[in-house]
């Protein structure tokens, strides 16, 4: 932990765990806020020739989302009459839970990781699929036909796009030789491109197919356009979330953007080198690592949101056809080619 490495403080295991948990708990809402403000409020607005919020907080409306959050907190807690109370209340928590769990393995520096599991990639992908259960719970417990339609669409979509997501990552794992995320970052930092090790070997160069596949599958996992049938705003008016108001809706919102943050961080770690900066080692890596990771994940998030604001949405059957008939074969081909090239070189 940073306290141990830089300041040579002796902190016990318990204190370390508490600090790590607190950091993770703060990172999700903060990350959601930053992503939401930069991309949803400002980037989308400028792509649409408008300014976005300018007044709240004085400087270009930075306070808008915080104010929105505070507004949501003081709203009345409305539950539909025929809703299943416990399931209705638990659904947002399940969705946000899966986001928190992903952050437990993402490394922000050589020592800045909650727990570097040997099966980090496997764990991250497995835990991010927990949100499907939350979505189904939300749709069913809302006692609303629109919500149910949205939840069923979401479940089908999320399960279908799990496979391309995993297949995209398998190529990276094969190239790095390890499933641990910290190991993957080291493999990129210490690698070399045709003998030149100036900037390591970010896997995006060799695994560009995997990168594209990962982005497409992540877009679908986040139910963002062009895969946002479950929350098709102009049809189902936010689909499975339609009966959620106030604090519970805030949870879903944080969950959505927090998961975007998490997937962008995963993509940055797997393909762009994570926290590694060429030429920086030791304690400086611990201090600058989070910023490097942040910059890389903002770039990935920019790509994801850029696509979100430009394309129309695919219909459910076209979406499924894309996943099963196009992305999975490409993913398998990618694995084949990676394996062949790895043996050859």
């Amino acid at each position: 932990m940073i306290g141990h490495a830089v300041l040579a403080l002796e902190v016990g295991w318990g204190t370390t765990m508490v600090i790590k948990t607190l950091i993770i708990l703060m990172v999700i809402p903060l990350g959601a806020l930053i992503l939401g403000y930069t991309f949803l409020l400002k980037m989308m607005s400028h792509m649409q020739s408008r300014l976005g919020p300018m007044d709240p907080g004085g400087f270009h409306g930075w306070f808008q989302l915080v104010g929105d959050g505070l507004k949501f907190l003081q709203k009345e807690d409305i539950m539909p009459n025929q809703a299943d109370r416990r399931v209705f209340a638990a659904a947002p928590a399940v969705v946000v839970l899966s986001t928190f769990l992903v952050f437990a393995v993402i490394p922000m520096g050589p020592d800045l990781v909650v727990k570097d599991l040997d099966v980090g990639v496997f764990y991250a992908l497995a835990v991010s699929s927990l949100s499907v259960i939350g979505v189904l719970m939300a749709g069913w417990a809302s006692a609303n036909k629109f919500a149910l339609l949205g939840a069923l669409r979401a479940a089908a979509q999320l399960i279908a796009y799990e496979l391309p997501l995993i297949l995209a990552v398998v190529g990276v794992v094969m190239q790095a030789g390890t499933m641990s995320l910290q190991g993957i970052v080291y493999a990129q930092r210490d690698g070399s491109i045709f003998g030149w090790s100036g900037m390591g070997n970010p896997f995006i160069f060799t695994q560009f197919v995997g990168f594209a596949l990962f982005l497409v599958a992540a877009q679908a996992e986040l139910t963002q356009t062009p895969f946002d049938m479950p929350v098709a705003e102009s049809e189902l008016v936010s689909g499975y979330m339609v009966e959620y108001t106030g604090f519970r809706f805030l949870f879903f919102f944080i969950g959505e953007f927090g998961t975007a943050f998490a997937f962008a961080a995963l993509a940055a770690t797997l393909f762009l080198g994570g926290w590694s900066i060429p030429g920086v080692t030791g304690d400086w890596a611990n201090i600058l690592g989070p910023f490097a990771l942040f910059a890389k994940l903002m770039f990935v998030a920019f790509l994801m949101f850029w696509v979100r604001f430009t394309y129309p949405r695919l219909r459910e059957d076209q979406l499924q056809a894309l996943a099963w008939k196009v992305l999975i074969p490409i993913g398998l081909l990618n694995i084949l080619v990676t394996g062949a090239l790895k043996v050859a070189f």
Binding site: M47, S49, F146, M229, A232, T310, Y311, P312
Partner: protein, 400 residues
């Protein structure tokens, strides 16, 4: 058009093909009896819904994600224009009928005032005709720019809608500079138009048309060229030409099914259209993609027509000699024009007073929407939205 003294009517001009009698049988199996139905899920789209362009209620019976039957319920916006017109004078009625199709309000006034002028035997001077033509085409451009944007929105792309509104502002500013009102110009009068153009307007109009051409190119790249948009819209909501004509579908919807019929060219000559040289765009498929394509081309064509009018603008008066208190002589007349939404017509009955005795408004969207029970059978739920967006109706036009 026909003027009747004794009550017999000539058959109005038709596009000229045989109407299949099978197509005219009522589709009883498409009716949905909401109270008694069980089994398949009944979904109520509207009257408050982002996709239904206003207060249209669509009761659909679903089997999973496929529509089994659909029933549009209209009337939530009925404002009683035909009854209101019985108690108002011609200028007052002009004010009201602006609000039928509020996106292209100038175009609504034109057929009504043409009807009154024909009954009176008064003809608007050439300059007034050209000004009316320009403003009608500007309304068409404004409506279609909004359509090009919001169809992208209904299909899922958020950005084109904003571009549509942004580019439409230029047209609305032009209309405001001439008439004083952005949305409800209330500019036509019996015998001509109310005022002349302000200084510098012709130049501003020319630069606005350049912006329109650029906007059309943007929409072509951003929406029409997008493969996802094509996948969503091609093959969705195909209207066969004969069936469309049987249901009374008109305007760009019918032209997108391959019917080469445009009242500006084929109907009774009105305004300055006989002097203009323009192309009527058709598309052989009848799907939503074709409707978008046709309207995009028509926007460009309207901009070209406006430029032609600007070049050929005659000088002179904008108002014919009409008495102070206008009393339209007795008679009945039917006038129809090519409005942006389709074919709009007024049947005006006058008994010699300062206001009409009875006005029957034939609005385009009412007939366009009547094809929905047939069209929505067997489509997916997302396709309902695409079809509604492609047909492009305005609730004020349906309900009046």
């Amino acid at each position: 058009m026909s003027t009747t003294e004794t009550g017999t009517t000539e058959t109005p001009a038709t596009p000229g093909f045989v109407l299949d009698p099978v197509a005219l049988t009522p589709l009883a199996d498409a009716r949905v009896n909401v109270e008694l139905d069980t089994g398949d899920m009944i979904l109520n789209l509207g009257p408050q819904h982002p996709a239904t362009h206003g207060t249209l209620r669509l009761v659909v019976r679903l089997d999973g994600e496929r529509v089994v039957a659909a029933d549009p319920v209209i009337g939530y916006m009925h404002r009683g224009y035909e009854k209101l017109s019985e108690f108002r004078t011609y200028p007052q009625v002009t004010t009201l009928i602006n609000r039928i199709d509020w996106l292209s309000s100038f175009a609504n006034e034109v057929p009504f005032l043409e009807a009154a002028e024909k009954l009176m035997g008064v003809e608007a001077p050439p300059r007034a005709k050209y000004i009316r033509t320009i403003l009608t085409e500007l309304s068409r451009i404004a409506t279609f720019l909004l359509f090009l944007g919001e169809m992208g929105l209904q299909v899922g792309a958020l950005t084109p809608a904003f571009y549509g509104f942004r580019d439409r502002e230029h047209i609305l500013n032009l209309i405001e500079a001439v008439t004083g009102g952005r949305f409800h110009p209330n500019f036509n009068r019996i015998g001509g138009v109310k005022d002349d153009l302000p200084w510098g307007w012709l130049g501003e109009c020319r630069s606005a048309m350049k912006i329109v051409f650029d906007a059309c190119d943007v929409f072509e790249d951003l929406v029409l060229g997008n493969e996802i948009f094509a996948a969503r819209c091609k093959g969705v909501g195909i209207i066969p030409a004969e069936l469309g004509a049987a249901y009374g579908v008109s305007g760009s919807n019918l032209r997108a099914s391959g019917v080469d019929w445009d009242l500006r060219r084929d109907g009774e000559p009105y305004l300055a259209y006989p002097d203009l040289d323009f192309k009527v765009w058709t598309h052989p498929d009848g799907d939503s993609f074709a409707r978008y394509w046709v309207r995009l081309q028509e926007t460009r064509e309207s901009a070209r027509m406006v430029l032609q009018c600007l070049d050929a603008m005659p000088a002179g008066a904008v108002m014919a000699k009409v008495p102070r208190i206008i009393k339209v002589p007795e008679g009945e007349i039917w006038v129809e024009t090519e409005n942006p939404l389709g074919q709009m017509g007024y049947y005006v009955v006058s008994k010699g007073a300062t206001g009409p005795f009875r006005v029957k408004i034939r609005s385009a969207s009412f007939s366009n929407v009547s094809i929905l029970p047939w069209l929505l059978r067997g489509v997916f739920v997302p396709d309902i939205i695409t079809i509604l967006a492609g047909l492009y109706f305005i609730l004020g036009d349906i309900d009046r």
